[in-house]
Amino acid sequence: MLKYVFKRILYMIFVFSVMSILLFILYNGIQGDPARAEIEPMKMKLEPAQYEQLYRETRARMGLDDPLVTRYTRWLGKTIRLDFGQSIRYQRPVIDVVKPPLQFTIKINIFAVIIGLAITIPLGIFTAVKKNSIFDKSVQVFTIIGYSIPVFITALLFMYFFAVRWRLLPLNGMETPNFKGTAAELRADQIRHLILPLIVMTVTSLASITRYVRAAMMEALSMDYIKTARAKGLKEKAVIFSHAWRNALLPVITLIIGWIMSIFSGAFIIESMFNLNGMGKLYIDSLYAKDFNVVLAVQLFYVLIALIGNLLVDLSYGVVDPRVRVNE
């Protein structure tokens, strides 16, 4: 087991290195001059000689005059020390720019994942057990609708009814601006602001896992060993949870671990609609602003998360299914 994990970690380092080279080349190959883009707004204010000097200084500071290999090794050296350079848009260290949205994304996603799992797994199991019942059919219809409606429409509908029409919840944002009150009251205000996006995040993610769990459970319930278990006179609860669910869990576990790992990734549309400072919005905004130091840092972070997630999935197979061994 340890040997396997060690080998996988070596493999992860290799893949991470290759990805870092590819991503660095990709973003540095994009046409455009970031130095010029940075100082262009100052052009009207400066005299030509000063503009030229500033342009040269900015290029030198960004290392744009160096060969690509030099730039990559310098960037990698800093990255290993968790120095991802400066954000062009904010003119601040990337790590300072990424920290608040990452904290927020993890916080809201943990809630969303817990609520989502708490709803989808029982719902998936129940609809599989009660296959073709009215309840099952209703859930199928609603999950199809959930699949089909774009997230921004769902978000707008919830915002319109809960915030604009009924005024039950704040429309967007992360807290009431210039909130006056105690720390506890502020905390309550922040939670109020999270409710609506959390509902939308949960609602829009219910469909896939519910249907996946249902399909896996239905397959498990059709197996001969279930008939045997029932024939032995086991209680239906024991048949479902001890026999069917455990076998259904194997294909579902990949999805669930993937979902849990997604607590680090943002949801651009929901974050934009609700004006939340999360990772999805930061990533897309940085791409639009060609703030590639931020984009590179975020992407490499996701590469790392994906590699760790894959390792966890493989290891979890061994835990869930004794037939699977992870020593090789």
Binding site: Q31, G32, D33, P34, R36, A37, I39, E40, P41, M42, K43, K45, L46, E47, P48, Q50, R61, Q86, R89, Q91, R92, P100, P101, Q103, F104, K107, I110, F111, I114, L156, M159, A163, V164, R167, P170, L171, G173, M174, E175, T176, P177, N178, F179, K180, G181, T182, A183, E185, L186, A188, Q190, F241, S242, S272, M273, N275, N277, K290, V319, V320
Partner: protein, 665 residues
């Protein structure tokens, strides 16, 4: 076992969530607004939010929440590191006691709250000195008295090599005598900046920059606290008669080179001070002298809160600001009017798109007692820029013909939703010199009204009279012109435009696919790129790729703005070195246009009529040569909660001036 495992995992997650939620740094409630004091928890008045609807600002007459499409970043040192529009506005509201102020009418006047009328001396070498005497009683928001040293410190610090070494962009005193030498650390003395005594200081503008209609902007400095920016005792300023200079360890601070020992004390000290300065860009509370002071910036919610500075004595006429708190927050286009409707924001400023304005008008129809708006012309326009040194657009008649083939009134109405107009030169309809010259310009400017016949006649006049075989043009297909060297030049306009740009999309419909364009014998071919690549093509920047050095595109669609103090000094330069730097991107080399553009602002600040007359001549020449086709000039609309009164805004002025005079009722 699996059930137990899952239960354990879920329990762990729940515990982890609770821990995370409980331990993550809670945003502190709004602290009391005194600079230099640390806000204490639970000190603010306990207003029970449970009894308040989420729309806390709805009846709040003490604060105005300003929604902005540009997020505030919490950088309070613009433009020396970055140039975010909302950050700039916030900085303007916290900066005060500048030697010159701008009136609501858009004029520069001596700020007599801060200084006496300056003594202006025209020196023998052609330079011009403005000597200021500070008034008594000025203080920063923390109560520290302001002296002449603080004004001199502004000019020195924000022009210094050290700021460049801190990865900033020193640009404060660019027109003052000795700027370049000081900025490049060739000398430690800034000759054009003088500290005369505790209350007196002067700035000298170099001879090549006077007279200039807006020259007072070169000597418009406010105070800067060196103790705040650099740390106590790190620097002071002095003057031995040759010019002001830094004293203290900051004076000798130099960026370490690659050969310097990273373990050395100098190396460490440089980075220590650099980190300190960079941290001060974002730190709150701050030592400032303007009508407002920063209370807090929340990096998570991207919200900045300002409150009135009770130590501020007023602007040039004693105006102090009436609204207690100003809150700046980011809004999203899709939901901005819902935010205004529900009280999440109180003001949406300078909306220019037809869809946005119509949404605002719908809101007013819903409840015109609760909401209000103001409109004003944009000081700028969207345009088609011609490259004039090669291909068909080098011919003035071709540029005119293209203008005649675009129904600009129709285009502007379609793009702005009817909330815009068409201008005939590089100006905004809100500029005072346009308003005073409107009648004259109306009679002298060509508005290039839509006409296929005129366009065809102009193309014939330009020599586009052949077909591809060199025969006379028969009335269909592409026109050609036989050049002096015998080659045939097709009338193909290569148009470069940016992606996801609604102006580009509308131009495809209204110009590129206009049947009359083809009927005139013109073909327009569009290429879409992102803005940075467009700049490469515009600058013909071969450092980014050899292909950019080859003249390829004849036309680009862009936009221009003309802020207060704008003068096209180098815009029509004939100097190839400057053109290579991106000045005169149209590459239109016309001596008369260059002279008129450069000279119209080279008058004494008091000569408003001379300035206006010369400006009109420049506009007329520009309109004749037509290096650009103005497409539309928006009628900006600001929508706001009707509690905001006396809110008079103009695109030539900053929003900071309007907010200073506005009230909440």
């Amino acid at each position: 076992m699996s059930k137990k495992l899952i239960m354990a995992l879920l329990s762990l997650l729940l515990v982890f969530t609770l821990i995370l939620s409980g331990c993550s740094p809670a945003q502190q409630p709004t602290p009391p607004p005194a600079a230099g004091e640390t806000p204490a928890e639970d000190e603010t008045p306990a207003e029970d939010p449970a009894e308040e609807p989420p729309v806390a600002s709805e009846e709040n007459l003490e604060q105005l929440i300003i929604g902005s499409s540009t997020e505030p970043t919490g950088d309070f040192a613009t433009p020396y590191w970055q140039n975010n529009a909302t950050d700039n506005l916030i900085n303007s509201l916290t900066a005060g006691y500048s030697t010159y102020d701008v009136t609501p009418a858009g004029e520069y006047v001596v700020n007599t709250t801060a200084v006496e009328e300056p003594v202006i001396t025209e020196n023998e070498d052609g330079s011009k000195t403005y000597e200021f005497t500070l008034k008594e009683g000025l203080t920063y928001n923390d109560g520290t008295p302001i002296t002449a040293k603080d004004y001199v410190a502004s000019a020195l610090l924000w022009s210094s090599k050290q700021i460049a070494d801190f990865e900033g962009k020193p640009s404060a005193g660019i027109h003052l005598v000795g700027f370049d030498a000081f900025r490049n650390a060739e000398t430690n003395v800034f000759a054009g900046v003088r500290l005369l005594d505790d209350m007196k200081f002067s700035f000298t503008i170099a001879d090549e920059f006077v007279p200039f209609f807006y020259e007072v902007t070169d000597v418009a400095f406010g105070p800067t606290s060196l103790d705040f920016w650099l740390g106590e005792g790190v620097a002071d300023v002095a003057d031995d008669g040759e010019g002001a200079y830094f004293t203290g360890e900051f004076a000798d601070l130099k960026a370490p080179g690659e050969e310097d020992d990273p373990a050395s004390e100098d190396f460490a000290r440089f980075h220590e001070i650099k980190e300190y300065v960079l941290k001060q860009r974002n730190v709150t509370p701050r030592v400032t002298a303007g009508p407002y002071q920063v209370v807090s910036y929340n990096a998570s919610t991207k919200t900045t809160i300002l409150t009135l500075n009770d130590k501020f004595l007023g602007n040039f006429e004693g105006q102090k600001g009436n609204i207690k708190d100003l809150v700046f927050k980011k809004t999203e286009d899709a939901t901005q009017f819902d935010e205004l409707r529900t009280g999440v924001v109180d003001l949406l400023s300078a909306l220019g798109g037809g869809a946005d304005i119509n949404a605002g008008m719908d809101l007013l129809e819903e409840d015109d007692e609760k909401f209000d708006f103001i409109s004003y012309p944009r000081a700028g326009y969207g345009k088609l820029l011609f490259i004039c040194d090669f291909g068909p657009t080098q011919f003035i008649e071709v540029r005119h013909a293209i203008a005649h083939l675009l129904d600009r009134n129709d285009f502007a109405a379609a793009f702005t939703g009817g909330y815009g107009s068409v201008v005939n030169g590089p100006y905004g309809e809100g500029q005072w010199f346009y308003k005073e010259s409107k009648a004259e310009l109306d009679s002298r400017l060509n508005n290039y009204s839509y006409s296929l016949d005129t366009a065809v006649a102009l193309l014939e006049q330009a020599g586009f009279t052949k077909d591809e075989n060199g025969n006379d043009y028969a009335g269909t297909g592409l026109r050609y012109r036989e050049m002096e060297d015998g080659t045939m030049l097709p009338l193909v306009i290569n148009w470069l435009s940016t992606e996801n740009n609604p102006v580009s999309e509308l131009l495809v419909t209204k110009l590129q696919n206009n049947e009359d364009v083809a009927a005139a014998g013109i073909k327009i071919e569009q290429t879409l790129v992102d803005f940075n690549e467009l700049l490469n093509w515009m600058y013909r920047d071969t450092s980014m790729g050899e292909q950019y050095g080859v003249p390829t595109y004849h036309m680009m669609n862009l936009a221009s703005n003309f802020p207060l103090g704008y003068a096209p000094t180098y815009e029509w330069t004939l100097d190839d070195d400057l053109i290579a730097l991106g000045y005169n991107p149209n590459r239109l080399k016309d001596q008369e246009l260059y002279d008129l553009s450069r000279n119209y602002s080279l008058v004494d600040p008091s000569d408003t009529e001379g300035f206006r007359e010369r400006w009109v001549e420049y506009i007329v020449k520009w309109n004749e040569l037509l290096p650009e086709v103005p497409l539309y000039s928006n009628e900006y609309h600001s929508f706001f909660n009707a509690k905001l009164k006396n809110f008079v805004v103009d695109d030539n002025l900053g929003l900071e001036i309007a907010l200073l005079y506005a009230t909440l009722e």
